[in-house]
Symmetry: C2
Subunit: 347 residues, 2 copies
DNA sequence: TAGGTCATGAGGCACGTACCTCATGAGCAG
DNA sequence: CTGCTCATGAGGTACGTGCCTCATGACCTA
């Protein structure tokens, strides 16, 4: 008598009863099978809405009797961030398997649209339900994404989006906001103004363009005392970036700060440490990787903005799981937050 | 013939076969039921390890035929952060329900150990599998946590830990690191040194003590030019904090910064804005709530350190789900990161 | 030896959904 | 009317695990 009364969750049986149709018909509607008149389908839909039916994900996956098959396609090469993204995928693989998600990872040459497109073209719905890709903005990739969607392979974009395609979801940070944040910190670090150099990877990369735009806009709006130098392109390369920074330090003895919005941070740290001026110059970089960690610890880098690869992978997996439920539902993901790291809150 | 070969996931049947025992025995071992000799249990454990069996969470919850029952106990009162924590719980309720987790939230008077203990005592394993509490460090609470654990109600602590008890997991940030981070930012904001006032809620709260310790240590180690004023206790109250800040501003025309490591931020912002010196003083506060958001936007606050209530709730739910599997497994959660927010990366 | 306890096995039903086959009846064209 | 298509219903099995009952045989104790 002390029982707590619990509302039983609605099941497909309840839907059938409420709609006045059979279980088989409800099943046909729920799983998009043919052979149901529009009028009947609507009755079912109305019943679902009326009683608030939610399909039981666990039971659904169990009954399907097969794991969800996901393929991550991640750029290869020297880019440490992409490596950490791949690591984050591996780290989640076991947990994902326990939730019936079978993960496969492929690395393709960075900035090689043809390779990415070929990799996408090789996927068929028989062995891949969903592809998660780091997209580069090239026509071949756009075509491959749409083709995969038509074949029945859902596509989600990670880190770098591909708007205007059939991709179901984008998972990544707001890079304009990241640039603004960098400016806001740099401005406060230099209360008496000064010169700040900006280094980018490439001005053909959407995320780098966004960061630069945000950085510039926020500096102009709030910190008139700061003069911007650059941007200089380092092509995300260690040695090239090292040369650029070394040159900057030599030519600008009064340099107040450096914002590296691309990769190549190993070179940045090396040049700073070699100059003996590490610590006297405020430095902001992107992505928490081995070189930036080292830089934070040594004091060469003050702040690292990070897009939390682990969180992105978690969000991607959660979204993929939802995707498995229905074909026509809108999938949303928790927004990815920009991580801000100093030496003192290194995880 | 084009089939991709998939390793079938191991099931309890496979474990039984590998161990040379019956399904019933495997079940007894897995679910901690009595009536199995130690030697037999070990054979089963060995088989599980050997074939890498992982219990299917979905099927397990389905077979249990009942939802996981979770009770959040969250302090009530004027504390905006606790309100946002409760909001985060509500926001996840639907999603949780779809994963067979039934959430109940209770609010108890803040800093009232007896009330929290009573609330815990009222829980019995029949209608609550797991309690998630914001613990305060009082003997009555400690006793209640251990009693609940003995009764079969698992307890997890949120935001504020209760070490030395039977609590299964703590979910929250590293408050010493948070204090260090605040110091590290403040030090860089004031490159020529200055005076920084510290306001705490209460020096009897573990998290406040930790933040203060971290702040102090990092200032002393790295920023000798900064003089610390306080800490002054504002008891997390709006009006008291407002009075304190107003007084500080009046008496210290040269004040360089304020670090409020407790709540009462509405008062902080009001006093700063009333003084007309907002923007000239570097201000760091905790928790992204309505008043701190306002402060960031108006420029009264420079940086807010946040412990990401939504992420904490997500982690708690994930951990609870794992907890449902076995009684004697070690549950781990993803670490909660300290969020750092400026006006420019407000979410 | 009789009676008891205890470890283990065998088997079945249940959870909610997916997916299959087969039957039935309505509607329609010729 | 005959023969066809098509919407729908009825009912089954399966997924992997939890939980229940009952049977069996080993071992101990009086």
């Amino acid at each position: 008598m002390n029982e707590i009364e619990v509302k039983r969750r609605a099941t497909v049986h309840d839907v059938a009863r409420a709609a006045g149709v059979s279980l088989a018909t409800v099943d046909r509607v729920l799983n998009g099978r043919a052979g149901v008149r529009a009028a009947t389908a609507e009755k079912v839909a109305a019943a679902i809405a009326a009683i608030g039916f939610q399909r039981d994900l666990s039971a659904s996956l169990l009954a399907r009797g097969r794991d969800l098959r996901l393929t991550f396609i991640i750029p290869d090469g020297s880019n440490e961030f992409m490596a950490s993204l791949a690591d984050a995928v591996s780290a989640r693989a076991d947990q994902a398997l326990a939730e019936r998600m079978h993960i496969q990872t492929r690395r393709v040459r960075a900035l090689d649209g043809a390779a990415l497109a070929a990799s996408l073209d090789a996927l068929n719905p028989h062995d891949c339900d969903c592809a998660i890709i780091v997209a580069s903005q090239e026509p071949a990739v756009v075509a491959a994404v749409d083709a995969a969607s038509r074949r029945g392979v859902a596509v989600m974009t990670l880190v770098s989006d591909l708007p205007g395609t059939q991709r179901r979801l984008f998972i990544g940070i707001d890079n304009v906001a990241a640039g603004r944040t960098a400016a806001s910190l740099m401005g406060r670090f230099l209360p008496h103004g000064g010169t700040v150099a900006v280094i980018a990877g490439s001005l053909h990369l959407a995320d780098h363009i966004d960061r630069l735009a945000g950085f510039r806009a926020a500096l102009e709006a709030e910190f008139a005392g700061i003069t911007l130098l650059g941007p200089i392109e380092g092509h995300d390369e260690r040695s090239e970036t090292e040369a650029i920074v070394g040159d900057l330090l030599k030519r600008h003895p009064d340099l107040g700060g450096i914002y590296n919005l691309g990769a190549g941070n190993a070179g940045l740290v090396a040049a700073l440490e070699a100059s003996g001026r590490g610590g006297a110059i405020r430095v902001i970089a992107h992505e928490l990787t081995e070189p930036t960690r080292r830089g934070l610890k040594s004091g060469a880098i003050d702040v690292v903005l990070d897009q939390n690869p682990d969180g992105e992978i978690r969000a991607a997996l959660a979204a993929a799981r939802t995707l498995a439920l229905g074909d026509n539902r809108i999938v949303v993901a928790d927004p990815i937050e920009i991580g801000i790291f100093l030496r003192d809150n290194l995880r």
